[in-house]
């Protein structure tokens, strides 16, 4: 039943709840589709077919027995490989964790299981979430379903590509500087970075603790909201987890579908996130969307965030500093691969060194060296200290902007998906791709990317970023769902329906057994 893979999580949930479709059928449909298309796309690092079908059968049995179940019970989901799963390898895209199966589940994973979602497998990512293209995975690239020669974004390229290519209706991502929103933008999917502290980080392999946030990846705003409601909320195991009670994001998204939802909404357009460095087609679709919003009654004003200029520079000090410390634990002593030195004695120091030399990729090493330097005595104040001050200034920019407007908007990324290898040789060019998304992480505010059309010059997806004040995630869902409906009405279809059909080139091989 290939049509099952085309359904939104919400639609699939209705069929499951009304017992028109079983969880096993839904799961098998997605597994079959993965088999058909993923040898080529490589969104998944690990597919847990048997476990997924077993879990689906259990859900079917419980539903048959009329046990009270979460509406999403039986809906398949893909998990970014940065999240600990006790029944699947967890590598964070790194050689150093090859084959490591954690003894525990991340809190968000435990919440998915408790709600009965079916974990299909683990998705590809830049090693330790360092990158904007998924080219830094130790296990090979993931292809963009819109153009197989292009990157799917990063670091969560696997989750975005999996959802955009209908291999899963939902996925989890993590966003440290745009790793959910930028892949969503370049694959035509929806991605949300919640308020810092809104979703537990326990069991999410840390890149930069003060910036990391786990969030939903989907094909519609409403699906993202449904998933957000499952994973969000206080977790005592994460000390930075907020204790607030949260409104239903799904209800907020439904509000956005009401007539006049955008009427009177004050939209701030960030002056600094436009102009030079933004692709013409990206700017064009962004402006068209604003015009549509204005026509729907939103009040559009330009706001200035003067300190955003320093965001990328501050980010690339804070992130490597925290990462250099967070990645110190990868030392071969308790988990992960162990590499003995070719020469010299087998002291713990030599083994740690040889393991890290062999286990970490070039980008990871680059950032560890950067961060170690930035934290060094004598440099701390000039680098880490200054970066923290910039962070405060950026928070003030947000506060000032949100005193005038309800939401802020910008393109999600300056360009559409670039080609493999295009920015690999120039880390600065790669880093600048995150200029739009980084400020939200530095300030801890929530951000969402939704598709707003294809750039005329290359026919590739463009994303709109919506940002709200901290803890006002619900506002993103209301506004996001309203814009999504407005655009789809104007197009007469969803954007992803325009993606080129994927040729199941490897189908025969997989049916007959791979060599």
């Amino acid at each position: 039943m290939p049509y099952l893979t085309k359904l939104s999580a919400a639609a699939l949930s209705e069929l499951l709840v009304s017992k028109q479709v079983s969880a096993v059928e839904a799961t098998r449909a997605h597994l079959d589709h993965i088999t058909a298309v993923d040898t080529d796309l490589h969104a998944f690092l690990h597919v847990a077919g048997d476990a997924a079908l077993n879990n689906a059968a259990k859900i079917d049995a419980r539903r048959a027995a009329d046990e009270p179940l979460h509406p999403l019970a039986g809906v398949p989901i893909a998990i970014k490989d940065v999240l600990a799963t006790q029944d699947m390898p967890t590598t964070a895209g790194s050689r150093i964790l090859e084959g490591w199966v954690p003894p525990y589940d991340a809190t968000v994973v435990a919440r998915l299981r408790a709600a009965g979602l079916i974990l299909l497998g683990k998705t590809n990512m830049d090693e330790f979430a360092m990158g904007s293209s998924t080219e830094h995975s130790a296990y090979g690239v993931t292809r963009n379903p819109w153009d197989r020669d292009r990157i799917p974004g990063g670091s969560g390229g696997g989750s975005a590509a999996a959802v955009a290519s209908y291999q899963a209706p939902l996925a989890l991502g993590s966003d440290t500087g745009g790793s959910i929103r930028q892949p969503a933008a370049v694959t035509g999917s929806v991605g949300v970075k919640p308020t810092y502290g809104g979703v537990s980080r326990y069991g999410a392999i840390a890149l930069a603790s003060s910036l990391d946030q786990v969030g939903p990846v989907s094909r519609s705003v409403y699906d993202a909201a449904l998933l957000h409601d499952v994973i969000g909320g206080h977790d005592p195991l994460d000390s930075t987890s907020l204790t607030d009670s949260w409104p239903s994001m799904a209800a907020a998204a439904r509000e956005g579908l009401q007539d006049g939802a955008l009427k009177g909404v004050r939209v701030g357009v960030i002056k600094e996130l436009s102009g030079d460095g933004f692709q013409a087609g990206v700017t064009q679709r962004f402006n068209e969307t604003l015009a549509l919003l204005a026509a729907a009654g939103a009040e559009i004003t330009e706001v200035s965030a003067p300190n955003f200029e320093y965001a990328v520079a501050a980010y690339y000090l804070i992130l490597p500093a925290e990462a250099s410390s967070n990645l110190a634990r990868f030392d071969s002593v308790r988990f992960g691969i162990r590499v003995n030195p070719k020469n010299g004695s087998l002291t713990s120091e030599h083994v740690m060194s040889a393991t890290r030399e062999a286990g970490f990729g070039a980008e990871v090493k680059r950032r560890i060296i950067l961060g170690t330097y930035a934290l060094s005595a004598g440099y701390y104040d000039a680098y880490y200290g200054s970066a923290q001050k910039v962070r405060t200034l950026i928070q003030r920019d947000f506060a000032a902007a949100f005193s005038q407007v309800d939401v802020l908007m910008s393109p999600s990324a300056p360009t559409t998906a670039f080609k493999f290898g295009e920015k690999l040789a120039d880390p600065m060019a790669m880093y600048l791709n995150d200029v739009t998304t980084i400020p939200a992480n530095l300030a801890g505010v929530p951000g969402m990317s939704i598709p707003i059309g294809l750039a005329p010059e290359d026919g590739l997806p463009v994303g709109l970023q919506i940002m709200a004040p901290a803890k006002a995630d619900a506002r993103l869902y209301t506004v996001g769902a309203a814009i999504e409906q407005l655009l789809e009405t104007s197009w007469g279809h969803t954007m992803l329906s325009q993606a080129p059909a994927l040729t199941p080139t490897e189908m025969f091989a997989s049916e007959e057994g791979a060599v």
């Binding site: 600990a84 954690p102 000390s239 170690t372």
Partner: protein, 507 residues
Amino acid sequence: MPNAEKKNRAELMDFDRALELFEPVLGFEVHVELNTKTKMFCGCANEFGSGANTNTCPTCLGLPGGLPQVNKKALESSIRLGLALGCEIAEHSRFARKNYFYPDTAKNFQTSQYDDPICHDGSITIELESGRLVTVEIERAHMEDDAGKLTHMGGATGRIQGADYSLVDYNRGGVPLVEIVTQMIEGAEHDAPEIGKTYVAAIREIAKALGVSNARMEEGNVRCDANVSLRPRGSNVLGTRTETKNVNSLRSVERAVRYEIQRQAAVLSGGGTITQETRHWHEDTGITSAGRPKSDADDYRYFPEPDLLPMAPSREWVEELRLTLPEPPAARRKRLQAAWGFVNLEFQDVVNSDLLDAVEATVAAGASAQAARKWWTGEIARLANVAGVAADSLVTPVQLAALIQLVEAGTLTDRLARQVLEGVIAGEGTPVEVVESRGLAVVSDDGPLIAAIDAALLGQPDVLAKIRGGKPQAAGAVIGAVMKAMHGQADAARVRVLVLERAQAIE
């Protein structure tokens, strides 16, 4: 002595001579392990002696994705310890990461405190044996997590040098510590070694009185790093210091400080220089040896711990905790000595045997202070020593008080009481129950006693004649025989009176 150790044994200068030439400057870092139920940052048991790596979880094992949560009880204990040391409690405090690679440190950073310690600027006054009072200024007391424990296998010495491999047990990893750092201690002079010992003893005593630590140095609950430097007489410039790590008994603190003074004095007088370094204390040989060089520029790349929120203990809470502080140990000692009327030697004996609590509780249970002291520091300490356990683990103060009351009532002689004590220790019940079950009470019915006396007198007619002839001192031989016949269950003084009576009375 192995050659390596001969080489390590430095030349020493006579202590008095060293003090003539140099002024010692001291500093101490004392780590106090808190006795919370769970660890500093996770829910694992804080327990000594469990199977290796059984008290562990993703957080304290430093697994990818593990995150810390602050143990509120550990925070409370740290604040109480800080208050007892006269410290200010910070209104804003936070943790920091101290980054360094070592296999016993699961995260390869220690979660400690750097620029915002929870307690700062305190002081305690200690009293030396001479009666000299010394005020030690406390710079800070901060919270941190302990490392795991490495065991080096295959080598002859158990040290890392020469080992084939090492085992690591992370049970201790993440156990809460408070590190108490003193300001420089100047003017210690000849008392420097004793100041070290007495200061650490005071910290240990305070931690114990607060109940925040088991405070057993032999189990590593209290560990001392001793900083020593020498300044030439007449100079204002501080000398280079060494830091002798993990000196883990009071006597060792005293010895290590003395050794470093003598060693450094010899080096400096010989025209040498002191290297700023950590040094290891060797309990067996009584020397220190060079560890790793340490400079003020040691770079731990401290930065605020992003996984934990800053702490802001409310003033109300701090004041509530202040009300829970027990009487300061030094003041308590003064009060108890006066109340019990012990001379210094007697009181020191109790304090040094760590039996202050036991004696106090025994007195509270109705015994006289002198009797309580004699029993605890005498027979019970002796038995404990033989068994290799703590004296206060053998009997309870209530049991001992009951025993003492039986002696004072004349029901038991001292000798019988020792037998009853054995029975109590063997778990045979309360003193009264042991007296009954073993039939050990002093015979107070004179009937059997008189029969035994008469028999003994008639059995020794020559003695009887001497007593009758006006030589009562001859009674001793008869008393011995009577006590033997009574299996010791008679009061010797009473026997003596009756022997003299019966000698005149019998036919």
